[in-house]
Amino acid sequence: MMMNNTLRNQCKTLPGSVITGKWHKNNYKIIKELGFGANGIVYLAENNRQYVALKLSDNGVSIISEMNILKAFSKVQGSVLGPSFLEADDYVKNGKTMPFYVMEYIKGDGYLDFIQKKGTSWMGVFMLQLLSSLSVLHKQGWIFGDLKPENLIVTLPAYKVRCIDVGGTTLTGRSIKEFTEFFDRGYWGMGSRKADPQYDLFAVAMIMINSSYPKRFQKKGEGYTQLKEMIKQNKDLLTYQPILDKALSGKYSSADEMRNDLIGFLSRHSSKKKAPVSGQTGNASKTRQARRAQNYKQKSRIKRKYGALETVLLVTIVSLLYILYIYGQLL
């Protein structure tokens, strides 16, 4: 979209070449290009026989902000969402200084690719993982900001969702600087661009919508009406409708709350596959609960029956052995 080819040409580095840091003197052997963003190119590189991801830029300013965020992110205890920060340095080539930073290399499939290959049934699990990571982040006063499938990677063999670009992360209460229209609350006219937990939860809902509409769609007219219509038109999304609606309209107070709803929904959904979809949820859950209680009673009755049988069997065997013993003694 934007014409920024000069950047690409300037920091284009051929595979096989070695980048040496000006300050820390570490060597990185470039293996291949992993991706290209607004602020620079990310390469797969090797240092001391370890794979790392290296981001090289010709624009010192924006990459430094990004590096600061990544550093702060690495300090968030218990969050494994983003890559860990390794070091920052400068690469001098033909007299021109290009800053770079090095981070952990996260290997895996892109989120949308994975969902398309393995089916939307994985979506729920990944969203649960994402929500618990977000919960940790939010509690430390950060909002992720630019949450989108392109930034999510499913690592194997753990099947864990992680994020490769944390550049949009913002302190709570500040303004969101980096965003992608489809996942941005402001674009859909559903709220401000102030960083709050609801901003991220809106994006989570949009990722779920994007999972069922891989090609996305543009805003036409009133945003909320359109989104509700798109949810109605898709079978997979319709089942999540109450949760999506709450997340889109900013009614969840925290990531945990949304996660609890989702977990409740997923377990209900898997225990009873033909759950009524469009019925009144309150009523439906009541009957479901009642049924579950009934199930439990039946199960325990069966258990008790088995228990009695066991006792009888044990007593018979023991008395049989005793009789045999007495018989032997008598002879």
Binding site: M1, M2, M3, W23, G60, V61, S62, I64, S65, M67, N68, K71, A88, D89, D90, T97, P99, Y101, G173, R174, S175, I176, K177, E181, G186, Y187, S192, R193, K194, A195
Partner: protein, 245 residues
Amino acid sequence: MKPGTLRQILLITDGCSNQGEDPAAMAALAREQGITVNVIGVMENDVIDENGMKEIESVALSGGGVSQIVYSQALSQTVQMVTRKAMTQTIQGVVNKELQQILGNSVTMEDLPPEKRGEVMEVVDELGETSKLEVLVLVDTSASMKHKLPTVKDALLDLSLSMNARLGDNQFSVFVFPGKKNDVEKLLNWTPKLEVLTKVFPKLTTGGITPTGPAIKEALDYFDQKRSLRGLLSDDDEQYFEESV
């Protein structure tokens, strides 16, 4: 550092000027007064010719700002990105100047080790979030812009959404050129919110000429009026960032 006021002119156009002063010279004049000039060239199906491109670049360059050519679909994101980039650039210029006073003439942020640079950048980001911002938007309404105007309106609403999420205060005003009678016409007085545009924009008529230079010149006067007016009302001496890149 105390947050001051960042002043910008945002020029949205789709081609070359054809009347009055050289726009690049007027942009240079703006820069001398501490006002940054950013230019966005909007394309739709048409392509901006070489002269237009050159002018867009040279206006931004002499105005100490940022220029970007985009297709109209990407306008919203570009407007906010260009505004932010120019803000950072201006603040960085000020910070560099301070650094030079402390560390000697030739030192800039780039010469610091990465860790120190990160700390300086934190200050720059902090100022970008808390500074006051004044943006005067200049919209080219020559005939070829006619069908791009709805997109321009959306992009400006989007800009006010982005900027009003900041902690610092914002003031926007909108001018169009050519105006009905003069080279430039004021559409919207200084206001923190651009929502009013929804009512004013559809009524716009487009004209034939493109007096970009005179438009920038008049915009400068308008900044001055605001300053002197404020001087009359209260005597707090406001800090303005002076460009020094």
